[in-house]
């Protein structure tokens, strides 16, 4: 029984594709409208993804340096570094040992001889703290917490612009979510309308099916598959459009990045995102067809 059910579905699925391919021009137009609509949120998603990646590579700028008081010794500095490292909002802590810092300073600054004249090391221990990724508020709070410690002489951070960028990205991601929902609705309605026309074109067939005892499910099924195919093919073309656009932009992006002496390689849609796009397209088509079928199949009754 179950097997027959699936066989019937597979037959319907294949038949719907066949029907679509028998009228290629009309089907192509509808699929293209769906593809262009879906390409918008998919493309924006790719933009946000790339901006996220870029902002992560700038994450280093969010690091801040905690200079300790001169009287804090090696032991105490190490203990403090461990303590800070254990915090949940801290990704990593690097202890810049004052001796090592001096050696580095001596080697790099060219003030070696001047330093030799000093009685003792003028540099304090320092901690380079990298906050765990998250909202900017956490970074501020972390900095304040570190500043309040008695061992701390100075906390130096410049996270303002990174915080703003992340804020903008979060906003953009939300906008993309909203656009996705709206476009999804539009796609469902476009497909629903296409299915409505299809139902009207095939009203005689539907009437005959009802006369010989076709259940609502039996009559509806071919239309649901037709809708799902429209959505799936539209999503497939949309994925192609996004990848093609990315390929076209690859050259300009690389030459722009080289001006900033960065090597940037834009990312496209991940496997999960592609599957989500295709599955979402098919699901929207199914849903749109369902809406149309629920409304219009009922209206066709044998007389």
């Amino acid at each position: 029984m179950l097997k027959r059910y699936f066989t019937a579905h597979a037959t319907n699925c294949a038949a719907a594709l066949g029907r679509l391919l028998r009228q290629p021009v009309g089907s192509f137009m509808t699929a293209m409208v769906i593809a262009l609509a879906l390409a918008l949120p998919a493309g924006l998603r790719v933009v946000v993804n790339n901006a996220d990646l870029l902002s992560e590579s700038w994450q280093g700028a969010a690091d801040f340096t905690v200079y300790l008081e001169m009287d804090v010794g090696d032991e105490r500095a190490r203990a403090l570094a461990d303590e800070v490292r254990a915090r949940a909002d801290v990704a990593s802590v690097t202890l810049v040992d004052r001796t090592a810092a001096l050696a580095e300073f001596r080697a790099r600054s060219g003030f070696g001889e001047a330093l030799d004249a000093l009685q003792e090391n003028p540099l304090p221990h320092a901690l380079v703290v990298r906050p765990a990724g998250g909202a900017a508020a956490d970074v501020e709070k972390l900095a304040r917490a570190l500043d309040e410690r008695p061992e701390t002489a100075l906390v130096q951070l410049d996270t303002q612009w990174v915080a703003r960028l992340r804020g903008i990205l979060a906003l953009l991601a939300r906008v993309v979510d909203i656009v996705t929902v709206l476009v999804g609705l539009a796609v469902a309605l476009v497909i629903g309308n296409t299915i409505r026309l299809e139902i009207n074109n095939r009203s005689t067939e539907i009437e005959v099916m009802k006369l010989v005892g076709g259940t609502d499910g039996f009559i509806r099924r071919p239309f649901l598959y037709l809708g799902a195919w429209y959505g799936f093919i539209g999503a497939l073309v949309a994925a192609g459009l996004v990848l093609a656009t990315l390929a076209l932009l690859q050259g300009p992006i690389e030459s722009l990045a080289s001006l900033y002496s960065r090597s940037v390689s834009p990312v496209g849609l991940s496997l999960e995102e592609t599957l989500l796009l295709l599955g979402g397209g098919a699901a929207l088509g199914w849903a749109g067809a369902w809406l149309a079928a629920a409304r219009h199949l009922r209206a066709i009754e044998p007389t």
């Binding site: 005689t204 006369l211 005892g213």
Partner: protein, 228 residues
């Protein structure tokens, strides 16, 4: 098998198509429903197939009160009735075989069983060699036989036909009626609406004459027929 009790049907337009129709068709009986156009023959058949519902009165088919069949159960109700139409109502984008197989597919039969029964039905109407043809390539009489094959493919106990010979010449009409008689021989209950009195006179079956929405004559030629 089919039973009407004081059935009235008034359309929303106000036209009263049936007024107080009472009759009973026994299991295995074959009857003709005659009468002039507009007498209510089609309406009566529509009440049997649940295409329409009576305004008043009771219609029983297969011992089931049609008033107690909710909308969503109508398909299952119709699966137990074979219906033949004057205009065949075939699907012209499918082969003859697919047309006959349609009710079997709807009933959810196994593909092998569908093939067996559809071919058996086509064989009975003498069109087995045309199963892969498009209906449009067949003559009107042949198309009507495809329609009949579709109506009987799922072996319903009740078959109703609305002017099945309306577009056919006398020879073909008689051929179609003989076909119905053969189904009747194996126990199918048949109610056939027709205005072809000449044809009906040549066949010894019960006759119900409908005029102005009322049964004015019931020949009860079938020994099992009862007074309505």
């Amino acid at each position: 098998m089919i039973r009407f009790e004081n059935v009235h049907k008034r359309y929303p337009s106000g036209r009263e198509a049936l007024s107080g129709v009472t009759f009973m068709l026994d299991k295995g009986e074959m009857a003709f429903l005659t009468g002039p156009s507009g007498a209510g023959k089609s309406t009566l058949l529509k009440l049997i197939a649940l295409i329409e519902r009576p305004t008043r009165g009771t219609v029983l088919v297969n011992n089931q009160n049609t008033a107690r069949v909710p909308r969503r159960r109508i398909p299952y109700f119709r699966q137990r009735i074979g219906v033949v139409f004057q205009d065949h109502k075939l699907l012209y984008d499918r082969s003859v075989f697919d047309n006959v197989a349609l009710p079997l597919m709807i009933a959810g039969m196994k593909p092998r069983e569908i093939g067996r029964r559809a071919r058996a039905a086509l064989d009975q109407v003498g069109l087995l060699d045309r199963e892969q043809h498009a209906p449009i390539t067949l003559s009107t009489g042949e198309q009507q036989r495809v329609g009949i094959a579709r109506a009987v493919a799922s072996r319903p106990e009740v078959v109703i036909a609305d002017e099945p010979t309306g577009n056919l010449d006398p020879d073909l009409s008689l051929e179609i009626m003989r076909l119905f008689e053969r189904f009747n021989d194996v126990g199918v209950t048949l109610l056939i609406a027709t205005h072809d009195l000449e044809l009906v006179d040549n066949l010894a079956h019960r006759r119900l004459r409908l005029v102005g929405g009322q049964i004015v004559e019931d020949s009860r030629q079938s020994p099992r027929g009862r007074v309505a």
